[in-house]
Amino acid sequence: MTSTKTFGNVDRRSILKMIPAAALGTMAFPAMGMAAGGAGGRYVHANNSAYDTLDPHTVNDVARVASRLNFYDGLYRWVDNPPKMIPWLATSHEVSEDGLTWTFQLRDDVTFHDGTNMTAEDVVYSLERMLELKQGAGSLFIPMIDPGQTKAVDKYVVAFTLKEPSAIFGSLVPSILVVNSKLVKANEVNGDHGQAFLIDNVAGTGSFTLSRYDPARGFVGKRYVEHFAGWGDNYLDEIEFRTVLETNTRIQGLMSGDYNGLDGYLAPDQVERLRSSGKVQVFEQESMRVFHIAMHNGRAPLDDKNFRMAMVHAFDYDGYINEIMQGTVARNPTILPGNLWGAPDVEGYSFDLEKAKSYLDAYKAEHGDEIRTLKIGTLAGFSETEQVASLMQNALAQLGIKVDIESAPWPVISTMMQSPDTMPDMVPYWKSTYYVDPNNWVGELYGSRYAPTRNISAYHVDYVDERLEKALVITDQDERAKLYEEATRRIYDDAAGIWIYNTKWYGPYTKNVKNVRFCPVGNGQDMRWSYVED
């Protein structure tokens, strides 16, 4: 076995160096709003969508991340920004020479909330359950590991045998949230893998235990004093995550002190309203949530590079970012977040209607003057997508191109996006962080292996595919970074999409909330690090 494998942006040697810190249980890391303060306290968070299930294996959305992060633990854990992966339930891992078998050494002092000791059997059961349910994060593992290929080597050693070598498996490991196999099995009904039980109950090792839960209202968690990572001097005794659908209500509630924190992706005017109130603190972090306009590269006229070049020069990037978004986001010239390894150093396209017109003339010279009406699909309720579509519509009108804007809820648009026949010509949307690896963005959105479900652009270029495929199997990070840079640069040169900005996270909290640790994967909702000062 070799131990030189890397994953995420951390190599194994770095991880091993972190183990003593984990063993000490203090886990002191730099965080926002850090100050000396008293232990304990209660934190109330207003969330913009409902926590209608607590099952960690059936959902994997950002909106419900708090229940997964605070009630469950993974083998490793993402923290901070830029994201670092730290040892968590596992202390180390090794990868076999052929890259197929990943073997993890587990801690022997981890207990579930009912006091049961966590073992390798629980990890095996958890991954098998994810594969069987075919939902949530399980979808990420199905392409790379078959059922029955996870084995408990001994009580505290677990081995995963993959279908093919995978460089991204390591960065997915934090998504394997471990459930108490004995407890869940005891509550299985008609072979449901404990779904009916875990929808309302928690069977984890996480930092908080479930105290109250109402799917219509949210949940309350109490500090799990025996958590293996320990607690240090400052911590929260209780957390409550409430569903508050209306943005205005959330903001007023925070300003009046009913809540201690909100989700951090607010519109610029709301951020300004909070800041100017003087009653709250707003933390700012560049996230890894890229806003872009996906283009249908497989349908005329967008299958022509000259036409696409006209499109990328017809968007007013500066106007949108500085005027509409009031500078609250960071320009991101490619599909890879600028703050992630593997992102090429490119200037980015600029708004230049003269240049767009010259590309359009080149297109017309080859294909004729007739250009059909283009359709942009926008997400109802997400005003930024509608604003972007309107900007494009106005700019293209100046070039003599008519645009229809069709707005619909996300489930409607996403269904349309996943078939080349129904995919609109352009769709503005965000690509969130499910795991911190360039494959999450460039691989999934432009690699042929992910078409048509995740690669919705119908972009298929051998040069790019070769690099993306190679980067999936080799583990040397420098080499992988080079491959992603080359692939991303080619996609950029092909103007395969319009890449606009990388989101900034503006975490609004009451002034007594300290030590918030934002990570793009958890959106600052990993509450074990924070506390409320008296």
């Binding site: 199905i142 109250r212 508050v244 659908l245 007023q252 509630g253 809820p409 996943q418």
Partner: protein, 313 residues
């Protein structure tokens, strides 16, 4: 139900894809589609839905992943409680003001009440809700901003917090519940009260000039007795009919008010179901609203027989 089912299915969403999640592969989605019976023709799916419905099975929500019947039953008391409170307020305010408006016909009070009732009908409930929140909750701090109760409520017996607080003798929860209910109930009640003012006014005006009222006046009965006992009883027939219709409208209309006030009832469930294109959940909500609407109107018909026994014939 037939119409809602087919309209819901015209919307181009793929429930299998929603369940499988954003990262699912095409093969996973296809397998799930078959498993969920979505590969069958629409009439077959409708037939299955009806067959399940006959056994009380409304299906499973795509988003909450729970039985829709359980979801709806869990949230029903919150919405019913809010709707009943709004109904009480609207009757308590609308009927007396309607009578006053009629008795003081064409006076400045009548003109003012007519303007207010038209305004009450015209005002958008989401706007009113936010204004009330900003003034009474944020600025004055008199009422809670949102929610059904400060903590997690009294020990659950019926799911109606007022009743559960009374049964458990939990006066703190009772006060907190009523306190939280005030703004959403007023928001919901205002358009209903405006409607009742107009209908009561019209009903009273129709009756007030009838012969028996003239006779009672001639007999020297006190005006208040004539109005509140004899006139109002006959004038209320159309108002009571309206109350039945209004209750149904309030129940369905709680969608917006619940969303603004973070009221954990059927309205917020409906909003989320619509946003998630959770068609079976939307259908379930429609069925519950329909049942409540029918039930209340049946009750109204029964009340009619007490107010005017001639309706039995």
């Amino acid at each position: 139900m037939f119409v809602v089912f087919f309209i819901s299915n015209v919307v181009p969403t793929d429930p299998a894809r929603i369940v499988a999640g954003e990262n699912a592969t095409e093969a996973q989605v296809v397998a799930l589609r078959t498993e969920m019976g979505l590969d069958q023709p629409l009439y077959v799916q409708f037939g299955r839905y009806i067959a399940d419905l006959a056994t009380g099975d409304l299906g499973k929500s795509l988003y909450t992943q729970r039985a829709i019947a359980d979801d709806l039953l869990h949230r029903l008391p919150a919405t019913l409680e809010l709707t009943i409170a709004a109904m009480i307020i609207s009757i308590g305010v609308g009927v007396p003001l309607g009578v006053i408006s009629a008795v003081k016909r064409n006076s400045w009070i009548d003109q003012l009440l007519r303007i207010l009732s038209v305004s009450g009908l015209a005002v958008a409930s989401f706007w009113l809700a936010m204004e009330l929140q900003m003034y009474f909750s944020t600025k004055l701090g008199w009422t809670p901003l949102n929610g059904r109760i400060g903590g997690w409520g009294p020990d659950e017996i019926t799911g109606f917090y007022v009743i559960d607080s009374l049964l458990g003798g939990d006066w703190a929860s009772l006060w907190d519940t009523l306190h939280h209910m005030l703004l959403p109930a007023v928001t919901l009640a205002l358009p209903a009260a405006a409607t009742l003012v107009r209908f009561t006014r019209a009903g009273v005006l129709e009756v007030i000039n009838s012969n028996y009222v003239l006779y009672e006046r001639a007999m020297g009965f006190p005006t208040s007795l004539i109005i509140w006992k004899y006139v109002l009883r006959n004038a209320l027939i159309s108002t009571v009919t309206q109350i039945g219709l209004i209750f149904g409208a309030l129940f369905a209309g709680a969608v917006v008010v619940e969303a603004v006030f973070d009221w954990p009832g059927l309205g917020t469930y409906a909003v989320q179901s619509i946003l998630q294109s959770d068609t079976k959940a939307i259908l379930g909500f429609s069925i519950v609203v329909g049942i409540v609407f029918i039930g209340v109107n049946l009750l109204v018909d029964i009340v009619h027989t007490f107010i005017d026994p001639r309706t039995i014939q």
